[in-house]
């Protein structure tokens, strides 16, 4: 019984996503970058974005973390590429609703990332899931690189 709930959290695709995260690493010339931290557990995540002509052209995240934060970073970066900052900001809200409530009105916006909805049954892990998304929002508002 317990494993059923667990299985919803740790679907195979999530485990795979965490083991082989996409867009893991650094961008060579990010326009936006930010480092966020989950101080209660020590996880750190650095997110690089390249925004050109009002569209996110590239994204990469670095840092170690649990299955949930790594899978979330992988899914998040993959989904925001090609989007405008305004859309990303909506996605961040939607994702947060999804992992808190288990559903969200416009969850289609999240594409594959919606698979993380199982987190809502593990409220202690919500912060792991939202870390990457929080980074995206913060990178866009405060992370602009001036050179």
């Amino acid at each position: 019984m317990a494993l059923t709930k667990l299985d919803q959290l740790y679907r195979q695709v999530i485990l795979d996503e965490a083991t082989h995260p996409r867009h893991h690493g650094k961008l060579s010339q990010p326009t936006h970058t930010i480092t966020v931290r989950n101080p209660s557990c020590g996880d750190v995540l650095t997110l690089d974005l390249q925004v050109v002509d009002g569209v996110i052209q590239a994204a990469a995240f670095a840092g170690s973390g649990c299955t949930i934060s790594q899978a979330s970073g992988s899914l998040m970066t993959d989904q925001i590429i090609g989007q405008t900052p305004a859309t990303v900001s909506r996605m961040v809200e939607t994702f947060s609703t999804l992992v808190i409530d288990g559903q969200a009105a416009d969850e289609a916006l999240l594409g594959d990332a919606a698979i993380l909805r199982g987190v809502h049954q593990f409220p202690a892990r919500i912060k792991c899931a939202t870390l990457a998304w929080k980074a995206a929002a913060q990178a866009l508002t405060e992370g602009a690189q001036h050179d």
Partner: protein, 398 residues
């Protein structure tokens, strides 16, 4: 009401008139403490497991409850402390040096409790500011006009009790706060004696900081609250360092968590927070106009009864909030308190941590009776009778 307080089942004959020192606790508060230890006991902001997570959520929900209770703008403006003294010292120690410079003035009334007097005196000494002490009214109450007159362009901080603990009068904080704010000053309000007697609205009164103690508002000992405006708390450095209050720690350097966690180093008094929540819920359920009318009646009855005794000096006024201080000529407060104690009447005799006020009143001490929700007219009558009898005992019936 009295039957909600199990203390009185253990002390059926006791007239407890020292609530201003510490209140007795309703059953719901004792239950909350026990329930916490039976059901919820786990450390907060640390564990990932369900129990620890739920306790943390509950702890943070209580922060929101406290915010609503004092009408703070947001939960993050509430810091859990050990009590009023701890709260006021946190502000004086951490925020004080940021707002006060040499030559500035910090203003208090001579009616303040030591906990809202000495921290500012010491701060002023430390930074080379002037510590200005306003005179009080003849009855021992704070004198708002005297305070207003002492506000100068250099007054950066006013520390004031909303209700004082000897004369018990309500201070019109807002008008003074407006004066201070108009010149960019800061107002710190000591709410130790007000919270149990009225709904509190920190925004309406114009408090930049507001402090109170759990144990005086029917909650547990060891827990207190500091409200602070978000921007001020954010600018204020932490006073203690350790677990829970950090962002990142390296050998060379540490950074802090956002407010309010940066002020809550180490394991907090979690049970105390749960107990405080029950006390505030209990207070929130009171019908304040009824409570006030009842308290008013008891205070008037007490003042009237005492006034009829020869040689009795009353401090404060008839609209005090639950506190009546007095002296009986020719009988030292201690002797009076001992005499009353023998009749199972618990009042306080002493300087009430208000030596600067005692100096103004020209007495070493007073007797103080203070009321809680559990007191009734029979308590009042026993006190009046006791004081009259003491007079006869010590001075004869001339």
């Amino acid at each position: 009401m009295r039957e909600q307080f199990p203390f009185f089942a253990q002390h059926p004959d006791l007239v407890y008139l020292d609530t201003a020192a510490t209140s007795q606790k309703p059953q719901v508060v004792l239950d909350a403490l026990r329930d916490y230890y039976l059901n919820d006991n786990a450390n907060v902001h640390r564990g990932l497991y369900q129990l620890a997570f739920e306790t943390t959520e509950r702890y943070e929900a209580i922060r929101a409850q406290v915010a609503a209770f004092v009408n703070a703008a947001q939960a993050e403006e509430i810091v859990f402390t050990r009590g009023t003294t701890d709260s006021l010292n946190l502000v004086a120690g951490s925020f004080g040096p940021q707002v006060l410079q040499a030559g500035d003035e910090v203003l208090v009334s001579a009616s303040e409790h030591h906990s809202n007097f000495i921290p500012w005196q010491q701060l002023a000494e430390r930074v080379g500011a002037r510590f200005v002490v306003a005179p009080v009214q003849a009855d021992g109450n704070t004198d708002p006009a005297a305070l207003a007159q002492l506000i100068t362009p250099r007054t950066r901080l006013l520390a004031i009790a909303q209700v004082t603990n000897v004369a018990g009068g309500l201070v019109p904080v807002r008008a003074l706060a407006d004066r201070l704010h108009a010149q960019g000053g800061i107002v710190v309000v000591d709410g130790a004696q007000s919270v149990a007697h009225m709904p509190v609205d920190v925004q309406a009164m114009g408090a930049d900081f507001f402090a109170f103690s759990g144990h005086k508002v029917y909650g547990p000992t060891g827990i207190g609250v500091l409200y602070g405006r978000r921007a001020l708390l954010a600018a204020m450095p932490p006073a203690q360092f350790g677990g829970e209050m950090i962002d990142e720690v390296t050998d060379a350097h540490s950074t802090w968590a956002p407010v309010p966690l940066k002020f809550e180093a180490g394991t907090p008094d979690i049970a105390g927070v749960f107990g405080l929540s029950a006390a505030l819920t209990f207070l929130q359920a009171q019908d304040w106009s009824t409570v006030r009318a009842r308290e008013d009646q008891l205070i008037r009855r007490l003042r009237q009864g005492l006034a009829a005794i020869d040689g009795l000096t009353l401090y404060g006024t008839a609209d005090s909030f639950g506190i009546v201080s007095f002296n009986l000529t020719g009988v030292h407060p201690h002797d009076l308190a001992t005499f009353l104690d023998e009749q199972h009447i618990a009042v306080r005799a002493g300087h009430h941590c208000a030596q600067p006020l005692m100096a103004r009143l020209g007495v070493p001490a007073t007797v103080r009776a203070s009321l809680g929700l559990y007191n009734d007219a029979s308590d009042i009558d026993r006190l009046i009778g006791g004081v009259a009898a003491a007079r006869g005992y010590f001075l004869g019936t001339d």
